[in-house]
């Protein structure tokens, strides 16, 4: 035993600390939880991840790689996605949600500007997969499989890839060159693309199933459907799909002075705004009210800003023609009754309310369907392709996703399906039983200690003035300032993941939170932690939680 020093005066450099860890009944642990943004992102983007990289390291390149782990089209989604992530953002209960969509666009644009390249995870495998359709679902599926080393070939019926993104979305929302560059990056993974080939017409389906280990159908829903009213066959009555395709193919369309767009979806909004840019007075006719409109809110807002007329409760009965040309639209007024099967209020006509509205062009944006020409496949409701939970169709080895399966959905949803299909296809080819780990639980506002966050103004993107924007088809939101986005990223709560605020480190009365010399992360020194729970209580993002001592 050590002899007692003079008056117990002890050399403090020789102290062997007394271990207080045994006092503990509860212990702190780090639990990475799913943030609500990611939980509400159909593409499953690691939103917290890329925002943290921006906030902590100001590293756009790394942020781009984080984002493109799930989504190969960030510049595109950053423009067209209705961003359900922002609706999920826990900051909504504090001040305003993060401008995630703008951040995504900034990161996507950075990737294009600096020509960043996707990296393959596995270099090469012999298995081949065919993807039919180069819309977001097909591109996403091909991208994820190509990264995993599979040999991919995409068949595209149109002359250019992109699907609805190329032929449906107008360029003031998504400039063609942006989409083109993002697709090129995907193809650079070694994906073969063949355009102007319609599977089922130019090449039989069987060919694909024979020559490829698996097939993914990302057919989209680009066939305009009619509501079957008299006069639909008149010369200047167009479906929304046809109208947008003409415009996006660079053709000149004479719409005349008065344009009526029928419908309340995104296609209707796009048609109306395009027609406005062609110089027409545009009205949108919709059977119900704004509340029931399926279009993205922002699109409706922007259409209104652009002085497009909205006529609600208005149902077209007949197209009035003079010879072959439309001159007007006969409509009746509707009133809303109890909801129908879709959950929306059911419109019922008001007797004797018919009136005629003058029109030089009528665009029927009332519905879209899959073009099944030459493809025999099991469907549900005669409309959308049926798949099992792994997105496999009735044909063995043939998978499907995107609008053709879901009905009309967003780009992000299609990208998410592409990713899911890619995993399912990989499992199918490898003969694995698909085993998905349940994602960690979602973290909500009530779990956060928001004391440590400060109220900060949300980034808002600046639109070109309405006067200017209506003159052309240029993008209405010009480029986004990278510095401002970094400031915006700093607003991220980092729900469920440490963001190095240092509270645990500074507040531990036992000095039992250390910085790991190897990882630089905070770690608990369980030799000394007494389990008081102060760190967990003061952890802003709920990354630290208390659990029963083992």
């Amino acid at each position: 035993m050590e002899k007692l020093p003079l008056a117990l005066a002890y050399d403090l450099s020789k102290v062997v600390p007394y271990k207080t860890g045994s006092w503990r009944t509860l212990m702190p642990i780090n639990i990475m939880q799913t943030p609500p943004c990611t939980n509400s992102c159909p593409a499953g983007n690691d939103i917290r991840g890329f925002l943290r990289v921006l906030a902590e390291k100001q590293d756009y390149e790394k942020a781009w790689h984080v984002l493109t782990r799930t989504n190969p089209l960030p510049a595109t989604c950053g423009r067209v996605c209705p961003h359900p992530c922002e609706a999920g953002c826990n900051r909504r209960d504090f001040d305003t949600p993060l401008a995630i969509n703008s951040a995504e666009r900034a990161v996507g644009d950075y990737g294009l500007e600096y020509n960043l390249k996707h990296k393959k995870l596995i270099s090469k495998r012999k298995e081949k997969v065919a993807v039919v359709g180069s819309g977001p679902a097909g591109l996403s599926c091909a991208f994820h499989l190509a990264k995993r080393g599979f040999q991919l070939k995409i068949y595209e019926a149109n002359s250019e890839p992109g699907g609805w993104m190329r032929y449906g979305i107008p360029s003031y929302r998504l400039p063609n060159f942006i989409l083109k560059q993002e697709i090129e990056k995907i193809l650079e993974l070694g994906i073969e693309l063949e355009c102007n080939v319609k599977i089922g017409v130019n090449i039989p389906m069987d060919n694909l199933t024979q020559h490829y280990n698996a097939v993914f159908l990302g057919l989209g829903a680009q066939m305009g459907t009619s509501i079957k009213i008299p006069g639909e066959d008149a010369q200047n009555v167009l479906t929304g799909v046809a109208f947008l395709k003409l415009i996006n193919s660079g053709q000149i369309v004479e719409v005349g002075r008065n344009v009526i767009v029928v419908g309340g979806g995104n296609t209707a909004m796009d048609c109306a705004r395009v027609a406005k840019r062609l110089g027409a007075n545009v009205s949108v006719f919709y059977r119900r009210t704004r509340v029931e409109m399926p279009a993205i809110t922002a699109e409706i807002d922007e259409a209104m800003e652009e002085r497009i007329m909205f006529r609600y409760h208005t149902n077209p009965l007949k197209i009035i023609t003079d010879e072959d040309r439309v001159v007007g639209l006969l409509c009746e007024q509707m009133e809303l009754k109890e909801p129908d099967a879709s959950g929306r209020a059911r419109p019922v006509p008001i007797e004797g309310s018919g009136s005629v509205y003058p029109a030089d062009t009528v665009i029927m944006a009332t519905g879209q369907a899959v073009d099944y020409d030459g493809i025999e496949i099991q469907k549900q409701n005669d409309q959308w392709i049926s798949t099992n939970e792994n997105l496999m169709t009735s044909i063995d080895g043939v998978f499907a996703g995107g609008d053709a399966v879901l009905g009309l959905e967003t780009v992000a949803v299609a990208i998410g399906q592409g990713l899911r299909a890619a995993s399912a296809i990989e499992d199918y080819i490898e003969g694995n039983v698909e085993s998905q780990l349940a994602p960690p639980p979602v973290i909500y506002s009530k779990d956060l200690n928001t004391y440590y966050y400060t109220h900060e103004k949300r980034f808002s993107k600046k639109a070109v003035s309405i006067h200017t924007r209506l003159k052309n088809f240029r993008e209405i939101y010009p480029s986004i300032d990278h510095q401002e986005i970094i400031k915006e990223a700093e607003r991220c709560f980092s729900c469920g993941l440490c963001f190095y605020c240092g509270n645990c480190y500074m507040y531990c009365p036992d000095n039992a939170v250390k910085i790991s010399p190897s990882t630089g992360r905070y770690e608990f020194d369980l030799d000394f932690c007494k389990g008081c729970g102060l760190c967990a209580k003061e952890c802003p993002c709920h990354y630290i939680q208390m659990t029963l001592e083992k």
């Binding site: 007692l4 020093p5 003079l6 008056a7 117990l8 005066a9 002890y10 050399d11 403090l12 450099s13 102290v15």
Partner: protein
């Protein structure tokens, strides 16, 4: 250099020669002149030290505790109530093994209030772990301070130099104040063993649980016992350097041939010596044992000089109320129990609260013990002042 000066001045001068770095004290009669003189010495720049005027003796002791723990040579002085107010710190200083030197100008304890001399105050802290040295006269008081620093800094035990209030502190006597160089040669600079120093962090004053407390007290007790040799050695060294005997353990006066041995300490021994001389002329053989080091208590030395004495009388200026003589108890304890059952050890209390101890009282005491042993006697007690039932 021989100077006709007040005892307090002598002590102040000598303390200054010991070059303390920090002096802190609170005024109390009869200690005041010592610290006033030191304040002047420091104020005049004759001594490079920090003089800290504090708001209590408790703080004075605490300040020198802190200063000593920071490596300074320190000094404080007090008396009576002041020492009692310090008591908590007094114990602490010893337990922390800080070589502090304190002058106790011995004075009675309240109540009733008395500013006059006895030795009850230092007796109250005799068990604290301080070396207690009692001065006979002002020369010895001065000399003991020089020795005290050397003893304290060798043993890491605090030293209390006790000198009778007024009788010594306020008396003018010729005192030889040494030269600075003599003191510097005799007393090397303080080399602390444990200090608060950020370059070498120590934990001083740690808490001891039952696993360690008893050992620390045992070690302190052993340190007190072991200081006996240091005290003797330094006293001998002092005699060699300065040419006079001062301090040490015990001194005797005409004891060898004595039939009656008087044991006492402090300034009263001067009176006793005169009295012994008187008795000698009358043909009576009375001798003196003077205790200089009360703590550590020189039991063996005492035994050696008293072992053949069959009639011993202890005279002291303090009392353990409800028990009797304090020094007497210590003396009685100095003899193995089985030895010489017919040895008489009498105990007398005298001089409490400044009551004079006259030769007549001493004569009365000796005559009484020659007849029979006295368990507990009081010299000069005025029975006429005491109610019948209290006698």
């Amino acid at each position: 250099m021989l100077k006709q000066i007040e005892g307090s001045q002598a002590v102040a001068d000598v303390v200054a020669l010991c070059r303390p770095n920090v002096i802190s004290a609170y005024p109390i009669t009869p200690q005041t002149h010592i610290v006033e003189d030191l304040a002047l010495i420091v104020g005049q720049g004759k001594l490079d030290a920090e003089f800290v005027n504090v708001e209590s003796e408790f703080t004075a002791a605490s300040v020198v505790l802190g200063a000593s723990a920071a490596g300074a040579r320190t000094y404080t002085a007090t008396s009576s109530q002041g020492l009692l107010l310090m008591a908590e710190v007094i114990y602490c200083i010893a337990g922390m093994r800080l070589p502090i030197v304190l002058t106790c100008a011995n004075r009675a304890i309240s109540a009733p209030l008395s500013i006059w001399n006895d030795q009850q105050d230092s007796m109250a802290v005799r068990d604290a772990g301080w070396i207690q040295l009692f001065a006979e006269d002002n020369q010895e008081a001065a000399d003991l301070h020089i020795q005290a620093y050397k003893i304290a800094e060798q043993t890491f035990l605090p030293v209390m130099v006790c000198m009778d209030g007024f009788i010594l502190t306020h008396a003018f006597e010729p005192v030889d104040i040494p030269e600075q160089k003599q003191v510097d040669d005799f007393l090397p600079p303080f080399k602390p063993k444990h200090t608060v120093d950020p370059n070498f962090p120590l934990g001083i004053g740690l808490y001891a649980d039952p696993r360690f407390y008893m050992e620390t007290r045992y070690i302190l007790h052993r340190a007190m016992e072991k200081s006996e040799s240091v005290i003797k050695e330094i006293s001998a060294d002092f005699a060699k350097t300065f040419g006079r005997d001062s301090g040490g353990f015990i001194k005797t006066y005409k004891l060898e041939e004595a039939d009656v041995a008087i044991v006492s300490m402090g300034s009263v021994v001067g009176t006793i010596k005169d009295f012994i001389d008187q008795l000698e002329e009358e043909g009576k053989k009375v001798g003196l044992l003077q205790i200089c080091s009360y703590r550590p208590f020189p039991r063996q030395e005492i035994y050696n000089v008293l072992k053949d004495k069959m009639n011993i009388v202890v005279l002291e200026k303090c009392i353990s109320l409800g028990r009797g003589g304090i020094l007497a108890s210590d003396i009685r304890w100095s003899f193995p129990r089985a030895e010489k059952k017919d040895r008489n050890i009498s105990s007398f209390i005298a001089g409490l609260g400044g009551r004079n101890i006259t030769v007549n009282y001493l004569r009365d005491m000796v005559e009484r013990v020659e007849k029979e042993p006295v368990e507990l006697g009081f010299l000069g007690l005025k029975k006429e002042l005491i109610a019948e039932e209290d006698l």
